[in-house]
């Protein structure tokens, strides 16, 4: 059994009304526990709608979504699912609830009805895990965007989440904040085996994943390891997506007849490949 199993997910907004809009059409995929998966797609391709199915914030119009064997459509199981699948949203300002960092991290555990002593231990653990414990008494509006997102991650960790969904969580951050957030989640992924699902516009973030899912008009059009997905640069361009610069350059070089390995994803990969071929 996979950790997340989506089968034939279809979601229609405003069903029966005039503005009926099909955001997802027959999407099926599995995500294993401990995997790092990126979901790519242009605006309006259904990425966020898909993400919201994975913790029961949205329910499928048809099809099934199971998390750890539990069906998101069962009201009695949805809380258990949300506890296991934490979510970090795009706008860092709109997801912190309390006026003090530690109170905000405690919000989830409080909702779960944990004992006060246990909550304090969880909050401490979570803030340490994202490197924010020195800010525990701060008001959220005094933090930078990247720090706010790390607090939001801590809020999920404090509930003992198994899987973290980043719904374009870095889209509103500056490069520094983006690095902070990505480094934090990757560290958690490696150290704790946290399952990561990263919905993003940034190709360099997707390049760090184990697997990439590509969405277009509510359909899952491609999935595979980043190297395989990025190998077909023109296709990604047709889908309205850019490939990482290094991948783009490598593709053009290959078109020009240069022999380069297929797994070039980052600038460092490209430099290493060119050196191996032309310097030594």
């Amino acid at each position: 059994m996979s950790f997340i199993e989506a089968e034939n997910l279809t979601h229609v907004y405003g069903q029966g009304s005039e503005q009926e809009f099909t955001a997802l059409q027959g999407v099926s995929f599995h995500i294993e526990a401990g995997e790092f998966v990126a979901i790519l797609g242009a605006n309006g391709s259904g990425k966020s709608t898909l993400a919201r199915h994975l913790n029961g914030l949205l329910l499928p119009t048809s099809g099934v979504c199971r998390v750890a064997g539990m069906d998101t459509r069962k009201p009695q199981e949805v809380w258990q699912i949300r506890r296991q699948v934490g979510m970090v949203f795009q706008n860092p300002d709109n997801q912190l609830i309390a006026g003090v960092v530690e109170d905000d991290v405690a919000f989830g555990p409080e909702n779960l009805g944990m004992e006060p002593a246990k909550i304090r231990a969880q909050v401490k653990m979570a803030l340490q895990a994202v490197g924010m414990e020195e800010f525990r008494k701060f008001a959220p509006h005094l933090l930078s965007g990247g720090q706010k997102q790390r607090v939001a991650i801590a809020g999920a960790l404090a509930m003992d989440t198994k899987c973290l969904i980043l719904d374009e969580a870095t889209a509103m951050l500056d490069p520094q904040g983006r690095r902070e957030v990505m480094d934090t989640v990757e560290r958690l992924h490696q150290q704790r085996g946290l399952t990561l699902l990263c919905i993003t516009h940034f190709m360099d973030e997707a390049a760090r994943a184990d697997r990439v899912l590509v969405m277009e008009h509510g359909r899952l059009v491609q999935q595979g390891p980043p190297a395989e997905i990025f190998a077909d640069a023109p296709k990604l361009h047709r889908l309205g997506l850019a490939v990482p610069l290094a991948v783009e350059i490598a593709w053009h070089l290959r078109q020009g007849g240069m022999q380069l390995p297929k797994d070039i994803l980052t600038n460092d990969d490209l430099v290493a490949a060119l050196e191996a071929r032309y310097v030594h």
């Binding site: 949300r82 709109n94 609830i97 006026g99 919000f107 509006h141 005094l142």
Partner: protein, 265 residues
């Protein structure tokens, strides 16, 4: 400038008034306010004034700051005083046209003005020594017995928490919108009051729009974090009465008894 907005008028400190449990403070304040209404004699009021001044002194809040809280109500106090001067029959002191200022009027006017000032100063002392967050928690705890009769204590407290969290965010957003509109030629400073009010519309519309969007996002985020109302919810910060609270309660009870005896003797 927007980084150090203060919400409410909390004056951080470490006095015993700051350290007392907020619920005890609210309860004692309510009883004290009632005593101010009931024990209306000059000796008791002098004692109350001394007590209030002592509390201000102990709280470490500068007297000037406390007195400043009277400023908005200064006219009301003065008006009440003048009204009472003329409206009590008794021994005439002097006449202004056909109205007489009486000795009883002066006494009553002073009493009422002092009462108003005591009410305001004592209440502000609570907000000066209690952070808004603690105040919210205390209110939730104190109101929770009324849940049985349908008072949404948890929801009220949650609304206050969220409001406190978003006030700085919305202020900085207002600032941003104002600058954006000003950079396109909007004028918020000159012109008549009416035209200035009209010019506020382009600020309020985007502000409300974004506030609704924020509310929507926040509701989603709260649901994702398993929020489902107050039922079955625990709190990280337990509110426990400490020795200081018990001592305060006893001291307060003795003081009240003294005031009561002083009044009814």
């Amino acid at each position: 400038m927007l980084n150090n907005i203060m919400i409410g008028q909390y004056f951080p400190g470490d006095s015993f008034l700051h350290r007392m449990d907020a619920r005890v403070k609210i309860l004692l304040l309510l009883i004290l306010l009632m005593e101010v209404f009931v024990f209306t004699s000059a000796p008791v009021y002098s004692a109350l004034i001394v007590l209030t001044l002592a509390l201000i002194l102990f709280s470490g809040v500068p007297l000037r700051m406390v007195l400043r809280s009277l400023k908005p109500l200064w006219w009301i106090i003065l008006f009440t005083f003048v009204l009472h001067l003329f409206s009590h029959p008794g021994k005439e002191l002097c006449r202004v046209w056909q109205f007489a200022i009486t000795q009883e009027g002066v006494a009553q006017g002073t009493l009422i003005s002092v009462r108003l000032m005591l009410l305001i100063v004592l209440s502000t002392l609570l907000t000066f020594t209690t952070s808004p967050l603690k105040l919210t928690d205390a209110l939730e705890s104190l109101l929770s017995p009324f849940k049985k009769v349908g008072l949404p204590a948890h929801e009220l407290a949650m609304m206050m928490t969220i409001a406190l969290r978003f006030i700085p965010t919305l202020i900085s957003e207002t600032d941003k919108i104002m600058k954006a509109q000003q950079s396109r030629g909007a004028d918020f400073v000159t012109g008549s009051v009416l035209s200035r009010l009209k010019n506020m519309v382009p600020i309020l519309v985007p502000l409300f729009l974004s506030a609704f969007r924020r509310a929507d996002d926040l509701a989603m985020a709260m649901e994702a974090r398993c929020y489902r109302g107050g039922a079955g919810r625990t709190r990280m910060k337990e509110m426990k009465l400490a020795r200081l609270d018990y001592i305060s309660l006893v001291v307060f009870a003795v003081l009240s008894l003294g005031l009561g005896v002083g009044f009814y003797r």
